[in-house]
């Protein structure tokens, strides 16, 4: 392997890893306020890409992406109001099953609207063949967009959770819902907001990757699983660790292609999931003590 090749693998790993990280951040936001793993998280990525694609036919790129993010956020909020809110007393098993059911329904609706065709959003800058030379590796400018926007989202989220009243209220919900309620925080609104936020972030990720990896109605389930692996790897409930874990998984996958057939790429990441679940369910960066207090 030449150094250019290694660099190329690193860039493709970072690209894929950024998207995994965005999905995992979505998982974490919802998990923190509700204790639910929303297995429909991958479908938000698909919806974002698809809606932006359709809108970009009639308007320019920026408003199309913004609208797609807002619409998907509204879908996320709607899902919470229609389904999740009524499931208060449900068991974990029930929650897993219902979010899988929701993801199937979203996927089938997407199939009806956008059929089986693979679609791709326009490149944000340049086109399919334009590339940038970095230390001998040639990458698409879209990669810079993906990495840059992901970094921006992560920073914005950090500031939001740290310094805004709403963000602090959401964190209060995650550490103790009842106490938050007693302090006058409207927890149901925070739960709704977390679904909206997670869906919106997923949709933005979907828009970012669409030019490179294309959007297909069935892409969501794979992303949902990869995002979950990343969320676990980083430690459930820790959005910032998810970014590091996402990049790690992206790099592992991208290098695994160089010595294993493409189809086994998923096998490796799932084996990582099984190993981490069994050996250290608190994740690479989580502490065993805090995780034993959480209710999975």
């Amino acid at each position: 392997m030449t150094s250019e090749q290694i660099l190329q693998y690193i860039f493709s790993g970072i690209t894929v890893g950024s998207i995994y990280a965005l999905v995992a951040i979505g998982y974490n936001i919802i998990y923190n306020t509700t204790g639910i793993i929303n297995l429909a998280q991958g479908e938000f990525v698909m919806l974002g890409g698809m809606i932006a694609y359709s809108l970009s036919q009639i308007m320019s790129l920026v408003p199309a992406v913004v609208l797609a993010v807002l619409i998907t956020g509204a879908v996320g909020s709607l899902i919470e109001i229609v389904f999740i809110r009524r499931m208060k007393k449900s068991s974990v098993l029930g929650m897993i099953v219902i979010t899988i059911g929701i993801s199937i329904i979203i996927r089938e609706i997407a199939l009806l609207i956008w059929d089986e065709q693979i679609r791709a959003l326009r490149f944000f800058t340049g086109n399919e063949i334009s590339s940038i030379d970095i230390l001998g590796a040639r990458i698409s400018p879209q990669v810079l967009w993906i990495v840059g926007v992901t970094a921006l989202i992560v920073m914005a989220l950090y500031l939001f959770f740290r310094f805004t009243l709403t963000g602090q209220a959401m964190r209060a919900c995650s550490s103790n819902t009842r106490a938050a309620k007693l302090c006058g925080i409207r927890t149901s609104r925070m739960v709704n907001l977390s679904f909206m936020l997670a869906a919106g972030i997923g949709a933005l990720g979907g828009c970012l990757v669409s030019p490179l990896t294309q959007t297909h109605y069935s892409m969501g389930s794979e992303l949902a699983i990869k995002g979950f692996i990343v969320a676990i790897l980083g430690g459930l409930g820790n959005p910032m660790a998810a970014v590091a874990a996402g990049l790690l998984l992206g790099l592992i996958e991208s290098f695994s292609i160089s010595f294993l057939p493409m189809v086994y790429k998923d096998v490796i990441s799932i084996l990582i999931l099984l190993v981490i679940l069994v050996l250290k369910p608190s994740g690479l960066f989580g502490s065993r003590q805090t995780s034993s207090l959480k209710d999975f």
């Binding site: 499931m87 897993i96 199937i104 699983i225 189809v263 086994y264 096998v267 799932i270 679940l277």
Partner: protein, 352 residues
């Protein structure tokens, strides 16, 4: 009376005979094909009902065990041993009648392993795999267990899809029929359709008898205590870890057996049988049936699989199962066959 508990089974057998006679009279014998396949899928659902309903452990990888059964038998019984037959091991197998000689459509003579051997190997393999992943994975709970079992299912799916001997995306075809006993053969030939229908449902009844007995035994009581409260069960001296693994293995072996039979019945198997969508479908059937309600699971499994196999749901096949999952979980978390659910349906119908 001890025999009393078998009355429903006798009733089931009666209904099955009635259905067969009805198809004979109305000239709709083609329904038997779907009823036969539905029976095998019911066996998978019954096994899963033990895991999910009675032991309270979610498994989203049941299609993986089904595929282990189906693909094991498909690979072993389609592998031509003609040039290996002179080796002592295969010559010995041939001598004790465990190899099958036959002539293909094109006049070539081939030798393959008896389906009985592949059947037993498939069950053993599924059991061993279930045990070795069950021991570490069943220590997990909730979401973690769900995703770990789903991960197992995806690994099987990917391996099947990416490996040459499993036929990659095409799957394996030309799997021979499975002669179980003289006169009873599991295969897709039209002339043996009725006997296949009865064979398949015989296996369902066998599974029911086995499981109903298991539920009313010491093991069954232990399982129920485990579902009710694992810590309490542990404190009472129930070896919860061991029971969980036991039920998981039973569920896997049931799924693998169904996979073997259906592969011989259809004469082949494809990768879609091991997909996550299939695993989710089994979960949906168990959920509608009422989780820990073998009769409910049997009835809903028959009903939904039959409609699905008849193509009644058309392109909405997956969507139907998704909607079922959501509706059941939201409104009837204990399944449709519970008194509370029936009252609820009545209330809805009365418009209240």
């Amino acid at each position: 009376m001890k025999l009393k508990k078998y009355y429903p089974i006798v009733l089931l057998a009666g209904v099955l005979v009635l259905i067969q006679l009805l198809t004979l009279i109305t000239g709709t014998a083609y329904y038997l094909t779907q009823l036969t396949m539905a029976a095998y899928y019911v066996v998978v659902a019954l096994g899963l009902s033990m895991v999910m309903g009675y032991a309270g452990q979610i498994s989203l990888g049941q299609a993986g065990f089904f595929a282990i059964g189906g693909y094991t038998t498909a690979v072993l019984t389609t592998f031509d041993l003609t040039d290996k037959i002179s080796r002592p091991f295969f010559a010995f197998l041939d001598k004790i009648g465990l190899l099958v000689h036959k002539v293909t459509l094109y006049g070539d003579s081939i030798v393959h392993l008896s389906p009985w051997i592949s059947f037993i190997l498939a069950l053993v393999l599924a059991g061993v795999v279930a045990y070795s992943i069950g021991v570490p994975v069943l220590r997990l709970k909730g979401h973690y267990l769900g995703m770990a079992t789903m991960g197992f299912g995806i690994i099987i799916y990917r391996i099947v899809l990416g490996t040459h001997i499993f036929g990659e995306a095409d799957g394996i075809s030309n799997v021979p029929a499975f002669p179980i006993l003289p006169g009873i053969t599991i295969g897709g030939d039209f002339s043996i359709r009725i006997i296949n229908y009865y064979t398949a449902w015989f296996f369902v009844i066998l599974a029911m008898v086995l499981l109903l007995n298991l539920i009313n035994s010491r093991t069954g009581r232990a399982l129920r205590s485990l579902h009710g409260g694992e810590d309490a069960a542990d404190a009472m001296g129930v070896n919860t870890a061991q029971y969980k693994v036991k039920v998981f293995v039973i569920g896997a072996v049931f799924a693998a057996a169904a996979g073997v039979f259906i592969t011989h019945y259809n004469g082949g198997i494809g990768p879609s049988e091991s997909s996550v969508a299939k695993s989710v479908r089994y979960v949906a059937i168990v959920a509608v049936g009422g989780m820990a309600n073998l009769w409910g699971v049997l009835i809903m499994g028959l009903f939904l699989n039959f409609l699905s196999l008849r193509g009644l749901f058309g392109v909405y096949d997956d969507a139907v199962f998704g909607i079922i999952l959501v509706i059941i979980m939201m409104f009837f978390p204990d399944g449709l066959f519970q008194p509370a659910s029936l009252n609820r349906i009545k209330r809805i119908l009365r418009g209240k």
